[in-house]
Symmetry: C2
Subunit: 888 residues, 2 copies
């Protein structure tokens, strides 16, 4: 019979940290801590296998489960010395989700389960604290009512508010045991009214209901969205942890808190965290009360004392456990603990989320401490996380109009229009507007809006509030607990002192300092030093794949070099024609009646294009530069719409009809599959001739200059279908080179290669490689053609395709390895068979995607090329790919 349950607690456990897939992260680590002898309340974990069985069997539990649950409860009862449902000595349990990957707040939790009218009375008697017992009971009804029974959370809150009004009191703490008892009766009436059934008094019924609710929450909208954002497969499922309750809210000798073994924002090697006296864990995470620091010397001055001061023995014990757990896991840990009547209990440990800066500092520190080697440190950093380090920060010299201070919950800086709802954030972001999401606090429903926003500001909550944790994970700058910011959601405005900011006003968030600033503050480029530089150095030693940039402007090329680009993998020459002045000449060329007219216009473009290349070659001196000849269809350069056509006609001195008819003639039904790329080069050889000439002349000019160093010139022909097109166009380039050699004594060194971006080209790679010095996979177009999906038109169905499992991820973001990947593998194999020295690279969007880079390492490509800001990510991902590849 399948073992669905795994017990832990009492100094032992059936599971371990290695069983994460089966027990989920929380369950595996609870087991591990129990084995380590740490104080873990006893419990058991229902495995993720059960989740799979539950869903595959139409949401039914297997028959064999109930006996196992019964024996699991007996195990808890034995260790905890209490009895489930026994009014004299009631056992209360928590029921929590726990999947393989952390999904904070996405799924449901039920606490204080096991309370009913009888056990609540028993608890009151046994603890001698009726107020605590009935507060716990009302919390349980409220939570269970919301999560399991589907009665709205706000309906319970409304009753509570009205009860307090009736009693003339402000705070929950002012409620007496009898007040709670009265409220409990109202809660039960509410449940009866909504469900046409009483609130369940049978503790076993409570337990099964909660388990079912947790498993069901795996498929709720929030969880589905989160998994999509973080690429967590649906098939993983969640485990459920049922564990004896401990209470941080039984008095002033009780507390609950969250600790990080190192600082998750800076990476400093010091325990860091927050706690609340006399509270339950949800109070910390929900951000309703602003919690206090663990460490005495921290910045948060006001209010209650730090744990170090208030409970020095507990603080010392926690510090010891913290070091022990970090040493055991060789990674920074995020710990949840509760102090019940002066005794410390560990409720969770997991690898802690951290900013990219902290991740780098922790990894490099751990190498210095001898805990990790360089490769392990490199493997540890999530490449995508680097992105937050690579973007501009605020210019420290710029004047700052500080509106308010808050907690520096997630570093980085961003400016944008203020919005007060996630919906509005999404709407404006979809239009390309930069927005700052401002909320009193955030909840899992805001995941979408936070993703859409440039930065997040909340007036409540601490460094471990929902907003803070999620923003750090997403790399969004975030300030929490900005108490001076008074938000009026209905009026769509906030005030700070006598300043009012309305929706649409621009503010800047400095998440590193915790400053809310008026207007848009200028930014400066990040510096790539310290731990970043150290770790990137290790990555560079490890990786085999070279990393180049897709860039054509001097600014982008300079950024690329700064980020460590080892050349340019894609210079899109057409981008050089969209300049306002040049497009006029470009249009003159396109509108010309014949080759003579085209050549006249091209002669004007030649010096402009040459100058572009001169600048580019100077910046990339000594490195390879791959220049793609004109690729898009000519009509992309033509005006659209009557007014624009009229302007162009006037400027060109031709009739409106002439331009209009030319535009109509060049219009294509499917421009993606039209007269473009090398097809243009073959029908209009004079264009490619001009471009080749500009390249060669620029290279000569740069080499001739004092101290001039040559680049490694690679001329790239786009969109070939087979070898013949490349042969024709290589001949053309070669003949221009011969003319250059005649005129200048010698032509620069160069090679001619091609994009592989059509399925047929991938299949015909053997023939193409006879002529090509290199292949560069254009994975954007290869994805479009192999899948028959226009990237521009995919929005209407792609999201639903990913959701329904047609792809693990949007294939334009992460390579479709099964389809497009096979074409790439085939092309690599055939190309190299035909020409062993063939250079292989990739220059589509996927060149900066870590998962895709792993695939390219496997294919044995020579380099990847990506946008300048993705280069460090690609360098790191390439090193990790090499490490993983070496293991296999």
């Amino acid at each position: 019979m399948t073992q669905w349950l795994y017990n832990f607690g009492g100094g032992t456990a059936e599971g371990s940290a290695a069983m994460r897939d089966l027990l989920g992260g929380k369950g595996a680590n609870l087991a591990e801590m129990a084995v380590l002898g740490l104080p873990v309340p006893p419990g058991f974990t229902v495995s993720t296998e059960l989740c799979a069985a539950y869903y595959s069997d139409g949401k039914k539990f297997p028959e064999s489960l109930s006996a196992q649950v019964e024996s699991g409860i007996k195990h808890i009862e034995a260790v905890a010395s209490a009895k489930f449902g026994d009014p004299d000595n009631p056992l209360l349990v928590s029921v929590r989700s726990g999947s393989r990957a952390s999904m904070p707040g996405m799924m449901d939790t039920v606490l204080n389960l096991g309370l009913n009218d009888d056990t609540a009375a028993g608890l009151a008697k046994r603890t001698g604290d009726a107020r605590f017992a009935y507060d716990s009971y009302r919390r349980f009804i409220q939570m269970y009512g919301d999560v399991v029974l589907g009665v709205g959370h706000h309906e319970f809150e409304d009753l509570l508010e009205r009860a307090k009004e009736g009693l003339g009191i402000q705070l929950d703490t002012e409620m007496s045991a009898d007040d709670w008892r009265g409220l409990i009766e109202q809660y039960k009436v509410l449940v009866q009214a909504r469900l046409k059934a009483p609130f369940p008094q049978d503790v076993s019924e409570q337990l099964w209901g909660a388990m079912r609710a947790v498993f069901d929450s795996w498929m709720n909208d929030r969880a589905v969205t989160y998994r999509r954002l973080y690429d967590i497969p649906e098939s993983w499922g969640t485990a459920v942890n049922i564990q004896a309750m401990v209470f941080g809210n039984m008095g002033e000798d009780c507390a609950t808190g969250v600790a990080f073994t190192r600082n998750p924002s800076s990476g400093d090697n010091q325990i860091y965290g927050e706690y609340l006296i006399n509270a339950q864990g949800e109070d910390v995470v929900a951000g309703i009360r602003t919690p206090q620091s663990l460490v005495a010397n921290s910045d948060d001055g006001a209010g209650e004392p730090a744990l170090e001061t208030a409970m020095p023995k507990i603080f010392a014990e926690l510090g010891g456990i913290s070091r022990r757990l970090e040493g055991h896991y060789r990674d920074m840990q995020d710990i949840e603990f509760t102090v019940q009547k002066g005794k410390l209990w560990m409720l969770q440990t997991r690898s802690g989320k951290r900013t990219a800066a902290a991740a780098l500092k922790i990894a490099t520190d751990m190498v210095a401490e001898g805990v990790l080697n360089e490769a392990a440190a490199v493997a540890r950093i999530e490449p995508e996380a680097l992105e937050q380090m690579l973007h501009p920060r605020l210019d420290p010299g710029a004047p700052r109009n500080i509106l308010a201070h808050g907690l520096p919950a997630s570093p980085g800086a961003a400016a944008g229009q203020v919005v007060f709802s996630s919906e509005r954030a999404e709407d404006l972001a979809a239009k390309g507007e930069a927005v700052i999401l401002v909320r009193p606090e955030t909840s899992p429903e805001d995941i979408h809006g936070m993703h859409a926003a440039e930065a997040v500001l909340t007036s409540r909550g601490g460094m471990t509030s929902h907003a803070a944790v999620v923003a750090r994970g997403m790399g969004r700058p975030c300030i929490t607990g900005a108490l001076d910011v008074r938000i009026d959601l209905a009026a769509k405005k906030f005030t700070v002192g006598d300043t009012t900011i309305v929706e649409g006003d621009i503010i800047t968030i400095d998440g590193t300092r915790g400053e809310v600033l008026a207007g848009k503050i200028p930014t400066i480029e990040p510096e790539m030093t310290g731990a970043f530089a150290t770790l990137m150095g290790w990555a560079d030693k490890i990786r085999r794949l070279k990393v180049r940039a897709n860039a054509e402007t001097p600014a982008d090329a300079a950024t690329a070099r700064k980020f460590g680009a080892e050349g340019i993998g894609l210079c899109r020459t057409e981008h050089m024609f969209f300049d306002e002045m040049r497009i006029v000449v470009m249009r003159e060329m396109i509108l010309a009646d014949d080759e003579v007219g085209r050549r006249t216009a091209l002669a004007k473009l030649l010096p402009m294009q040459r100058q572009d290349f001169v600048e580019l070659f100077r910046i990339m001196a000594g490195l390879p530069v791959t220049i793609r000849l004109l690729d898009p269809p000519l009509h992309e350069f033509l005006p659209h719409g009557e007014a624009e056509i009229r302007d162009v006609a006037k400027a060109a001195g031709v009739k409106y009809e002439a331009v209009a008819s030319r535009v109509a003639l060049l219009r294509e039904n499917n421009p993606m599959l039209g007269h473009r790329g090398c097809r243009l080069g073959i029908s209009h050889p004079e264009i490619y001739e001009m471009q080749a000439r500009a390249i060669f002349e620029a290279a000569i000019e740069v080499e001739k200059a004092e101290g001039g160093e040559a680049v490694e010139l690679e001329i790239m022909i786009p969109l070939v279908m087979g070898g013949k097109e490349l042969r024709i166009l290589k001949d053309l380039v070669d003949s221009v080179a011969a003319e250059i050699a005649d005129a200048h004594g010698k032509a620069p060194e160069y090679s001619v290669g091609t994009m592989i971006e059509l399925p047929r080209a991938a299949l015909r790679a053997g023939d193409i490689a006879k002529t090509a010095a290199f292949f560069s996979f254009g994975t954007n177009d290869l994805t479009q053609t192999a899948l028959g999906i226009s990237r521009d038109d995919a929005a209407s169905f792609m999201e639903s395709y990913v959701r329904q499992g047609m792809f693990a991820q949007d294939p334009f973001t992460s390579l479709d390895q099964e389809g497009v990947g096979e074409l790439i593998e085939t092309a690599c194999r055939r190309g190299r068979e035909s020409s062993p020295d063939l250079k292989l690279g990739i220059c589509g969007e996927h060149g900066g995607d870590p998962a895709s880079i792993h695939f390219f390492e496997k294919c044995g490509l020579n380099y990847v090329s990506c946008s300048p800001y993705r280069i460090p990510i690609a360098r790191l991902a390439a090193a990790q790919a090499k490490l993983r590849q070496s293991k296999q």
Copy 2:
């Protein structure tokens, strides 16, 4: 040393018919005839290998050639007992091209070579016929001047015309020896003026010049065009035949003519042909004089007598040779002969071009005669040629307003606008207009125009004139020698009696009867009987591939069954929605705001679609019918342009803006790669649900009817990328079937399969085949995506791509076997590995293309599906593919 030359004549030869690749068709058959002991003037053939060497070496002859040519001339001199360049006994030779495939009139020829001032005088003396000698000399100067020296043919003709005017005579035959001599002096002056050099008097120089000209003509525009039209590779090259001249123009005991061993139009087993007394071969072919029949009892009443009457002995000898050659080659021969002073000489034999009807009759007759077996007869027929038999002929009951009679040069009937130039024919045809090309006579320059025209009418020329031969080859109806038709090219009109037809007027050509008719005459369907039925029966016995039709209308389905379709391979359900009434409901569906609105509209479409299927299923009773669910993007059904949108908005009772914004929303950048096919089925399941329901309900209705026979239902999902989409949509179809079974007791038998029309689908075939009962290759879309070419936008470059050798043929006409073909092979292999019983078919345009069908046979597909009119072609091609496959 390479042997470049192969001698023949004098009862022996170095070559044979088997050496066609090396010697070209003409050279190989001259050698074969020489070996057979037939009277062939001696000569030698310069091989096609030399042509290749000539072009690969920058148009230079190898050094070793001159000695071989010298020895070849010696061979001719020895057999002909004359000496090249000897004034006392001059040897004259012809220099003719001859490639592997017949390319009539495409390349250059020089006759009477070896004449100069001295040998002309010698020839006059030796033959005692000064007029003949100088006529020959002036013909030579004219031909050599035109072909080798590049002096315009018309310049010589002008001098001749002026000379005749000056002498007051009408006909060439009235010119005396002295008149010719005077003209020769003028010709020499003309050459000197144009070339700044005298006409070459050195016979060896003449020979080398002519050889060079013939090799050069391999690359002239006419030849290049012809090769493209007939898929002849450029690499084949041409041979050159140098042969002793014989003369049909030395008097009334001389003649020249062309014979077919059987009637090339009807296939009747009787020698058939034309000849001219006292003429050179070019006079017959050029169509300037209307020649006489060979056989006495033929229809052409007027003028000179038939060869049978005029030269009975020669006629008998020719008949004997004709039977001998046909028996030897086991095929109908096209023979050229010359009678010089009462002696018959054979100048050429080759497989004769023939109409499709003649081809079928000859092939079936030869089986009856025991010359061929059935397989050889099936292999003999060019499948494409059948097309001319499959199209409508004139309704015999329709009133005919006969304008003129001419020779029935190529059968079939067609109507169209009269045009008088090939350029105009091409222009209008490109716009989709049907045109009839009317010319006094045609020349190789008209190939394009004839291809563009529906039919051809010439006022001059015979059954073997250029127009007649080419039109038969192309399957275009053609009338030649319509002498009453007086054409005024300048005024763009022709008159017959007092009727005037101007450009743009509609006429009908009945090429079978030779009748020119006013206006457009109604047509009737062809009958598939006689030799056609016999041969198709043999083909059906041989072939393995099934042949189905792409059809959705009852009319098309009926035509398909008549032509032998074994089912429907592609029923495009969307075609059923374009009906004027239905598109209104379709638009209502698309414009609906939600699923409820869509379902309301779909409920209206259901009975219409069901009724379509009922009709189709009745016609195809007992056969498989593959129904493709909705494929095109929804916006194809929406109105375009303001006026149309306004109409639709009014009809639908919604605002203009609502419709306009919906149209704008659905507009796609690349609709080919957009939201269509199964992507629609997944996002709008209610559409496919309705279609599945209509199919099932129709099948039940047909089966329930008295004598109702079920069809084999195959439901086809378009545009899948992988297995998941198919699984989702098969579940949907299955669930509709389950509902139908609930409602009707049982659901009809059916299977669900998919189109393979995206490269990724071909690669993922193994996974897809786990769910699919069948694959149908959609080679149109598979070609578009694999090659990255939008068929609609390819016109601007495809022609030049084919011309430059990127493809042997337009890949939308004949399958790109190297690229798309590999994807098909891969999909077949993976699909069958995963599911051995998988049914495989193809339903793109290529299903009716013989070359592609050979490929599909090799892949082991189960069936091809094509348009109804291509079905007999596909049946025959499938049989030939099977024969060829069995050989290998």
